[in-house]
Amino acid sequence: MITPTHYLLLSMALFTIGLAGVMTRRNIIIVFMSIELMLNAVNINLVAYSAQVQNLVGQVFAIFVMAVAAAEAAVGLGILLAFYRNKETVNIDEMNLMKW
């Protein structure tokens, strides 16, 4: 019997894998992809609970999260490309233009 707690644990595990990716990797594209993993974990949670209480608000919210994720990916990658054109690196340790 699959309870929503199973889905909750799955989404938490996916979230922490994404979190580990954000905090460990130095390639900024991998960091962006880990953020997408975290957003997907949230979506899984929303849809699972929407199926449990039979209220479609969760699915509507999940669609909005997807739209926001698309917008964020586009703008984030645009920023990355603009930065790469100037500094030729994707290592976030070297993206320190605002350091003192």
């Binding site: 644990l9 799955l10 905090m23 390639n27 594209i29 849809v47 990916a73 586009a74 645009g78």
Partner: protein, 170 residues
């Protein structure tokens, strides 16, 4: 029974591919594993009866966002060896320890909330159509019309912003 098998298989695939995304040395491999991960998540949505969200997941995430990532990975052809992009030693251990702490805390909350009685669910809005797509569409166009329009404005702004940011300075 079939539902349990489907859930465990899909959950194992999702978590396995996610670990591979985060640990692959080659960014293109990471992107391929991300696509497979999103397809497994879409299959999970289908088992939950949310077929519209599943189709949108494949269309938007796997077929749009990840293609964008793949393009950028290819445009940013780094010449340095990929090992330079793994944080060494102290950073990595600290990051993994923090992630592990978050996981333990969240699992504790999840288990504790199962032991205590669940809060009563809010009353679902009755929509006069049947079928998952139709109901989601009804909600999007009546109760959640304002967020819908705001989301479309957001996407427009993001499109314009991405074009302006990524354009070559002429």
């Amino acid at each position: 029974m079939a539902e349990a098998i489907a859930f465990y298989v899909l959950a194992a695939c999702i978590l396995g591919f996610a670990v591979l995304v985060v640990t692959a040395k080659n960014p293109v491999h990471s992107v391929v594993f991300l696509v497979l991960d999103f397809l497994c998540v879409a299959a999970l949505y289908v088992t939950l009866g949310a077929e519209f969200v599943a189709a949108i997941q494949v269309l938007v995430y796997a077929g749009g966002i990840v293609v964008l990532y793949l393009f950028v990975v290819m445009l940013v052809n780094v010449k340095r060896p990929p090992e330079a992009f793994r944080a060494g030693g102290r950073h990595a251990t600290l990051g993994l320890a923090l992630a592990g702490a978050v996981l333990v805390e969240a699992a504790a909350i999840a288990v504790w909330s199962r032991l205590s009685p669940a809060a009563p669910a809010s009353a679902a809005q009755t929509v006069p159509v049947s079928g998952n797509t139709e109901q989601v569409g009804w909600l999007l166009y009546t109760s959640y019309l304002v967020p819908f329009e705001v989301a479309s404005m957001l996407l427009l702004v993001a499109m314009v912003g991405a074009i302006v940011l990524a354009r070559k300075e002429s």
